[in-house]
């Protein structure tokens, strides 16, 4: 099935979820699933105030498009789209949306799950959390940096 311009996008502004849902409309589909990932106020027991996403766009766009194409070929679905945020986000803002339309619901559920799981593992996107205690941290990166070893 031919895809509209680009089905995967990075947005520097708030995601318009109703418009995103509308862009999935398709008369051959009997199921539509829209998953929203939101900014929550806690992580690992720490209070989170807000967060920022850094995105390496050239590769995130390419890999994101590839994930959607994989979902289109693995599952019996008619549409697959996703948008991921970049920049600073407040609590409860959508950080990512994944939308799938298909003839029947089972394929839509499985495709949606596949897409969000692959997005989390493969896209060059990093999340920095700002905590209530004043600290900040890159998520998943406890082992990335260390204090210099004393000579």
């Amino acid at each position: 099935m031919a895809s509209d311009m680009s089905d995967f996008a990075i947005s520097h502004q708030g995601i318009d979820v109703p418009a995103f849902r509308a862009s999935l409309e398709d008369v051959t589909s009997g199921a539509c699933l829209v998953f929203e990932g939101w900014v929550r106020n806690h992580n690992d027991g720490r209070g989170v105030l807000r967060l920022a996403y850094e995105v390496y766009e050239p590769l995130a766009l390419k890999e994101g498009e590839l994930i959607l194409q994989e979902a289109m070929s693995k599952f019996e679905i008619s549409r697959a789209k996703a948008i991921h945020r970049a920049g600073e986000l407040a609590l409860s803002e959508p950080a990512v949306v994944v939308g799938v339309a298909s003839s029947h619901r089972d394929a839509a559920f499985r495709a949606c799950r596949y897409i969000i799981d692959e997005i989390k593992q493969r896209l060059p996107i990093w999340k920095k959390e700002y905590y209530a205690d004043g600290n900040t941290e890159w998520v998943n990166c406890q082992h990335c940096a260390q204090d210099p070893v004393p000579k």
Partner: protein
């Protein structure tokens, strides 16, 4: 020795203090290159869970690197 161009992202950029650097190296893979660069950047720690891209394509840590390559080091990703 060959010349490559290295780019650092997110936590790695903060650990190295730079976004990009030309590197003269005898490393033949990104894994070897990362180890070598740890010597130059004392705050750079582990590549555990990290991803690497060469010339704008996702690559393997054992992919051979060649003179003129652009090597991107991506710390563990956390999208979604």
């Amino acid at each position: 020795m060959k010349s490559v161009f290295v780019k650092w992202f997110a936590a790695y950029r903060e650990a190295t203090g730079i976004e990009a650097e030309p590197v003269s190296t005898s490393a033949s893979t990104p894994a070897e290159l990362f180890l070598e660069l740890k010597g130059r950047h004392p705050r750079l720690a582990s590549s555990r869970g990290a991803l690497v891209a060469i010339n704008q394509e996702m690559a393997d840590w054992e992919t051979p690197i060649e003179a003129g390559d652009e090597v991107l080091f991506f710390p563990p990703v956390a999208g979604g």
